[in-house]
Amino acid sequence: MEHMDNCTMRIYKVILFASLATLACLRSSAQESHDKAWTRLNLVKAQWMESSNAGALAFEAPSDFNTLDAGYAHSGGDFRQLQTGTSEGKLHFDTQGARQIGKVSVWGRFTYNNASESGASFNTLLNDPYDERFLYSAADSVAGQWKKQSYLMQFKAAMPLGEKVGAGVHVKYTDKIAAGQIDPRAEAYHYCVSVRPAVVWNSGIGSLGLSALYSNTFERSTPSISNSQEIQKLFLMRGLGNWVGSQVGGSGLSTMYFRCNSWGAALQYALRREWKLLAELSYTADRSVITESATQPKPHGNTLRHSISAYSSIQFGSSVLHSLKLSADAVNTTGTEPTALWNKDSGRWETAHTIDQVSLNTLRAALDWDAFVSDDDSYTWHFLAGLSFVSKDDSYALPYSYFKYNNMSAKAGAERRFAFAGGASLISSATISATKNISGGYSYSGHRSGTSPVELLYPHNLSILSADRCEVSADAEYSFPAAAGVNLALCAQARWLGASCSTDPGPVFRQRWMALGAIKLYF
């Protein structure tokens, strides 16, 4: 945990820097106070903010704003995949703001999370065990505790290049560390940097945008044991329950390296009439390489992920602003297993054979409707509804195994803003959503039958992911002027989910809850 402490110090410094930067914004910002409703509407109207094209902010940026959000959330319950903890406490700090500096529109955001989770299993190495790019990781059945910290810094900057052309860039930097607290434990360091340059061209038939993406992700995870008397067995996962054996301790698994390079491009089209339309089509390819040991790299597997996303948003109305969004994305990840042989002459591992065994497919589609009953630059009511569909279809080629499910979800909610004298406001909301499973199943026909990844991990996770469930949430936020141009807000949120999970003996009712408290500043 020494590294963890060092990193904690580093993160505290970053928070301090972000706080000072935010204060600097505060001093120079307009002396009008905002709240959650104003900020949300501000971002909704800036339709391009949701796209991957930062260049368009040169012509349509949100109004200047700054927010700061610090809080603590606790969640728990048995509705969880096994890699998620039975309980989790998370401290967060988030600040963002947008400003117009001369011709340049700037938006920036800093997010810090400090989480502690217990009861998670089947993840020995990774910050994010659900990252399909890194499916060739290690797992163990010991339920343990993790401490995780992450910070994300990002900014968008855009400026017009003449009357019709704008250019911009969106840069993100993520840094995470995670430390397992029970044998077999690991210290994992993760960083990701991504750059999205973009241009937009305004013409008589609308605006055309083009953006590109390059992203580099790296994670290094070193497994270890503190009790050297007991070597811990590991599953080196190969997908859908297949694994090869390894261990931590002795001459077992050494440091693992997860690397990914991503390239992508997106095309946008926007039209401004009495209504506003924005559509985007994007493609991203992620090529990942997973190896063990830096000095004698041993290949553990490669993945190639193709993602195609389509997104369109239309906004219309003035007294009631309607926002209709339709999105769909398809993701295919192919996992390639290597067979590595040690070449004693060259003193290195050599890949003797590779085989594409794993195919992971996800298809998502969603239709969301939001309506804001306007009140100047804010709203009094916000109604929302949505439908979504998720299809998961994973397979292992030989021997053939599959893991699949199809779910339909619907949600509805309402939010009310009460304005009080003196600039104070109370915004409360309630949302309900329900998910119905249409079909699903897990079938395994490999040679690892009877082992815990096959008998426990995948059946349990399927029962969670394919469960019929209902979720309700409510939150309230009271804000009031704390100083000139500054609103202070107190926020509370609660969420509860109940699900009927199909298991071998019969349906099991599982639930999960979350409670959050936060303090926010709007300025």
Partner: protein
């Protein structure tokens, strides 16, 4: 607008439904080369075992030498073992042939010719080995290293003699190379730390069928000190003058082994070169052992070895510290498999399986030259289990 949205959805779904390249089974057809069987009778059938190096999946099939047979497997790199057992004239034979890292891929059947050799089963075999130590009584951290033992059993129906038999730990054939130092280096294994030898003039220590003898690191009752067993009735112990001079070693009543070679001194308290991993062989040297300081240096500087003819080896076992077969030290012709215990202090032993019982009630141990199949791991080390007898000359115990 509607058409635009539908077009986007159509593109997305089409992309999602792109079929991935199909992976098909590959076909393998084995061929058995029996030209090296010599006078040994040809077995009627062989057991073929294919182990996928990448997935660890093992497939087994039975085939006859002359038949044309194909086996469908997942494309990959395989280690292949062909085994059979037979008997003739009252002697038992093991037949074994191996092919390592065979690439079985593609649409055309892959044919591999595997040369099979035959060897008469050794009379003396490892019966039980305790090599991963135990914990000092009442301690959770102090490991007790002196309770290592090797039990060696006469698996034949004739009396043999233990005199002159040596015990040693071969170096990894994958890592250490002596081809520049010795003609026909592939005919040898190379011992890396110590060679311990049973003294005697050739007929001092007879071992009758159904009897075993125990080589202990220290022939005392270790159960008084640690959570382990009593070795005070062991026949031999690896105590010699060199260790007595260093002190701390009780010289029990057991016969002291001769430290024939110190190739690389180890500080381990059991006077063996290794604990939780390592291979072990017992052999009867047909040529003189080298003197200290005259050992051959391998391709890795300062790593020396004492050569031992493979033909002199009576039995060999390969113990791994991990589940990774890449760490195997012995070639398949000596041991086609391997076995693994817990880490140091785990107080486990590996025990050879019982294949049958003779009319006199003595057991016959399984000996296929494949440790993966011949041995199991026991959580309770024990000497002379299954009613095995002590040799007639072994009458002592060491009281404490």
């Amino acid at each position: 607008m509607k058409k635009f949205v539908l077009a986007i959805l159509a593109c997305t779904i089409a992309a999602a439904c792109q079929p991935t390249q199909a992976v098909r089974l590959a076909e393998w057809s084995p061929g058995i080369d029996e030209s090296a069987l010599g006078d040994a009778p040809k077995p009627e059938s062989y057991k073929v075992k294919l182990t996928n190096i990448g997935t660890e999946e093992a497939l087994e099939a039975t085939m006859s030498a002359g038949s044309a047979q194909t086996i469908s497997v997942v494309p990959g790199i395989y280690n292949i073992t062909v085994q059979a057992h037979g008997s003739s004239g009252g002697r038992a034979y093991n037949y074994i042939g191996t092919a390592n890292a065979v690439k079985i891929v593609g649409s055309e059947p892959v044919h591999t010719l595997i040369k099979v050799t035959a060897s008469a089963s050794s009379a003396l075999v490892f019966k039980e080995i305790h090599y991963n130590a135990s914990m000092v009584t009442g301690s959770t951290s102090a490991r007790y290293l002196k309770d290592t033992f090797f039990e060696i059993y006469n698996n034949s129906d004739q009396t043999v003699y233990a005199d002159g038999i040596c015990l040693g730990d071969p170096m990894s054939y994958k890592i250490y190379d002596f081809k520049d130092k010795l003609p026909n280096a592939s005919d040898y294994v190379f011992i890396g730390t110590y060679v311990w030898q049973i003294p005697g003039n050739g007929s001092d220590y007879p071992v009758a069928p159904g009897e075993s003898f125990v080589i202990a690191a220290s022939a005392i009752d270790h159960a008084r000190i640690a959570n382990t067993l009593d070795l005070s009735t062991a026949e031999f112990e690896t105590i010699c003058d060199k260790y007595k001079e260093k002190g701390g070693q009780t010289d029990a009543n057991a016969i002291n082994m001769t430290l024939a070679c110190t190739i690389k001194e180890s500080g381990l308290g059991n006077q063996f070169g290794r604990f939780t991993d390592g291979a072990w062989v017992i052999f009867y040297p047909s040529q003189p052992l080298r003197k200290d300081g005259e050992y051959l240096e391998s391709n890795h500087a300062n790593n020396y070895g004492q050569e031992v003819l493979k033909a002199d080896i009576l039995d060999a076992v390969d113990f791994l510290k991990t589940e990774n077969p890449d760490d195997k030290r012995l070639e398949s012709e000596l041991d086609a498999g391997w076995i693994k215990c817990n880490t140091t202090g785990g107080n486990q032993s590996v025990v050879r399986k019982v294949a049958g019982t003779r009319e006199d009630g003595s057991i016959i141990l399984q000996d296929t030259n494949n440790t993966s199949e011949d041995f199991t791991v026991s959580d309770k080390p024990e000497i002379r289990r299954d009613g095995v007898k002590r040799p007639s000359w072994s009458t002592w115990t060491t009281a404490q």
